[in-house]
């Protein structure tokens, strides 16, 4: 894979795997990822064949005229990838981000959706 200028400049940055919850509803699979520092402009989601990749970029915040007294957490970009089965409707994946939480909605393809079968009273 060819490296872009952006890739090279980010080479030495730390990359963290964001923690995620994945749950399933009748029609969708939802992925919820904690990505503090990320907003809608700084997150990329790509789907290449079966591979869904989440990539979040962080501004390295420097605090003017302040020195770091102690640090309990590290700061870096985020990346995590998931392989999708054929049962996801790839053309309708949606993503939102709010307060540093990314939510991905992956609709199940029509043929595997849970169907409710109505029971009709026998006459």
């Amino acid at each position: 894979m060819a490296e872009t200028v952006k890739d090279i400049s980010r080479k030495n940055r730390k990359i963290y795997a964001p923690v995620v919850d994945i749950f399933e509803t009748a029609n969708n699979i939802l992925i919820v990822a904690d990505m503090p520092g990320v907003d809608e402009k700084s997150v990329d989601i790509t789907l290449e064949k079966n591979l869904l990749t989440i990539h979040g970029m962080i501004d390295s915040t420097t605090h003017d005229n302040l020195e770091l007294a102690f640090s309990e957490y590290g700061i870096g970009d985020y990346q995590r990838a998931f392989s999708l089965s054929d049962e996801i409707d790839r053309s309708n994946i949606k993503a939102t981000v709010k307060d540093g939480v990314l939510k991905l909605i992956l609709p199940k393809s029509e043929r595997i959706k849970t169907r409710k079968i109505e029971v009709i009273k026998e006459s």
């Binding site: 730390k14 990359i15 963290y16 795997a17 964001p18 923690v19 995620v20 919850d21 994945i22 749950f23 399933e24 509803t25 009748a26 699979i29 992925i31 919820v32 904690d34 990505m35 503090p36 520092g37 990320v38 907003d39 591979l51 605090h63 005229n65 302040l66 020195e67 770091l68 007294a69 102690f70 640090s71 309990e72 957490y73 590290g74 870096g76 985020y78 990346q79 995590r80 990838a81 998931f82 392989s83 999708l84 089965s85 049962e87 996801i88 709010k98 307060d99 540093g100 939480v101 992956l106 199940k108 595997i112 849970t114």
Partner: protein, 143 residues
């Protein structure tokens, strides 16, 4: 048949295990209980102290900040997604619950002048140093 189908659905998403560029040991947020939670970073200079902490998805209205002398206490809650009947978690790595943490600051601060911002899941608290404690420059006068 139905059961098999459901189990298969549970495997729709498997993290791609061969993904080696991820710094695996460094999961972004440590789970509560393992270290003091939430982890914070503290910056300072002679006039102020700044604390940042990552609490994505927390409702900022419910965040309680108390400053007394040289300590600050944070209290907040993050509620889990309420699942409806028939919905289930395939993976649950994110933290939930009520948390409280007290942090000792390098000096006394002015409690009434503390400013807190919440942006993109990061809580930023700026605390000016108590006037009486600020280092003073003493000019030496010529005799």
């Amino acid at each position: 048949m139905l059961i098999r189908e459901l189990q298969r659905l549970g495997n729709l998403l498997e993290p791609w295990r061969e993904f080696d560029s991820i710094n695996r040991e460094a999961f972004r947020t440590l789970s509560p209980g393992r270290v003091e939670f939430p982890p914070v970073n503290l910056w300072k200079n002679e006039n102020k102290a700044v604390i940042t902490t990552e609490i994505p998805g927390v409702d900022p209205e419910g965040v309680e900040i108390n400053v007394v002398g040289n300590t600050i206490t944070l209290r907040f809650e993050r509620k889990p997604e309420e699942l409806k009947e028939g919905e289930s978690y395939t993976r649950k790595e994110r933290w939930y619950g009520e948390f409280s943490r007290t942090i000792e600051l390098p000096f006394n601060v002015q409690g009434d002048k503390v400013e807190a911002k919440f942006s993109r899941g990061i809580l930023y608290i700026e605390m000016p140093r108590a006037e009486a404690e600020k280092p003073r420059k003493i000019t030496v006068q010529a005799e």
